[in-house]
């Protein structure tokens, strides 16, 4: 997994670049926060229990990093909000989580230790293998500079 700062940073760059089309985020800024929540959700669900509990629980929480279970978790999370907001929050959470999974699919893994994208239907794993997970930290300065440039240009 690339670190969460890379996930959130790239998401910010993505939203700012497509701002003319994604006007919803300028009208309702809290939806951008929901989008960020969606993008950190897969790692928060699978990694936080490892920190709080023990390494042995890894395989129990690992399925929460797959599309089907993320769909259900996003639905469950959206149910905690007000009725009128639920649908938009659900869609935005899904969108954020999908961006997270897309970025994760680009990383390298050893052997079969990738993510089982089609769980529970298949345990077949697949990754594009462009970079190692921890190498994403080296992109953080570039992302930060991009964010600053975008900010300055928009002003």
């Amino acid at each position: 997994m690339p670190d969460l700062a890379t996930h959130v940073g790239l998401l910010y760059v993505f939203v700012r670049l497509f701002q003319p089309k994604l006007t919803i985020f300028s009208r309702k800024p809290y939806l951008f926060v929901i989008l960020c929540l969606g993008t950190i959700l897969p790692d928060v669900l699978t990694r936080v229990p490892l920190v709080i509990l023990a390494r042995e629980v890894f395989f129990f929480f690992a399925p929460l990093h797959t599309p089907v279970l993320l769909f259900l978790t996003c639905y469950l999370t959206s149910m905690l909000f007000e009725v009128n907001l639920r649908k938009s929050i659900f869609i935005i959470l899904i969108f954020g989580a999908a961006l997270h999974l897309f970025l994760d699919s680009l990383q390298k893994t050893i052997g079969d230790n990738g993510y089982p994208w089609f769980f529970p239907f298949s345990l077949k794993t697949f990754n594009f293998g462009l970079f190692w997970p921890t190498e994403s930290i080296f992109f953080i300065p570039i992302i930060l500079i991009t964010i600053i440039v975008i900010h300055l240009l928009k002003k």
């Binding site: 700062a5 809290y30 395989f59 129990f60 279970l69 259900l72 469950l76 769980f119 930290i137």
Partner: protein, 155 residues
């Protein structure tokens, strides 16, 4: 009354589905991906498959290889990864390697301990940022909702 029951039923069913899939995933995935401890404790697997070496100090560096000392014995780990240039003598790394035909360890994947710490730290900062933004926007939303309700009552 019906709406409330319907709402809680939906939450309960989704929650049970998620937990059920997690149990199923635990059974399936733990069988598919044996733990690294399993590799380490099985000498036969050690020589056939990739294994994880944790907290190893590098004792010597070559242009395309490095040496670790294990139980008083030096092990040469070969690599084609150009990022090996980042390695320094005495550096602590976690790595996965497998034996090649020549009997050398071939590096497949590694984590430099301090980069993992940096990765976890920036991830924590990202989560903190999202939580703060979430609380800030929703506090604003709640305040606006209360003002709207008071105005409605006054009218």
């Amino acid at each position: 009354m019906f709406t409330n029951t319907h709402y809680f039923l939906k939450i309960l069913i989704t929650f049970l589905l998620v937990v059920g899939f997690c149990f199923y995933g635990n059974l399936q995935l733990s069988g598919k991906f044996p733990s690294y401890e399993h590799y380490l404790s099985n000498p036969e697997l050690n020589h056939k498959k990739e294994i994880l070496k944790t907290v190893q100090k590098i004792v010597k560096i070559y242009p395309s290889a490095f040496v670790i000392r294990e139980k008083g014995k030096d092990i040469l780990v070969k690599t084609e990864n150009p990022l090996v240039n980042n390695f320094k003598k005495g550096m602590v790394i976690d790595f996965i390697a497998c034996f090649n035909k020549e009997g050398y360890f071939e590096l497949q994947r590694y984590y430099i301990r301090h980069w993992i710490r940096v990765s976890i730290f920036v991830s924590f900062l990202a989560v903190l940022l999202v939580v703060v933004l979430f609380l800030k926007y929703f506090e604003m939303e709640i305040r606006e909702y209360k003002i709207f309700k008071i105005k409605k009552l006054n009218a």
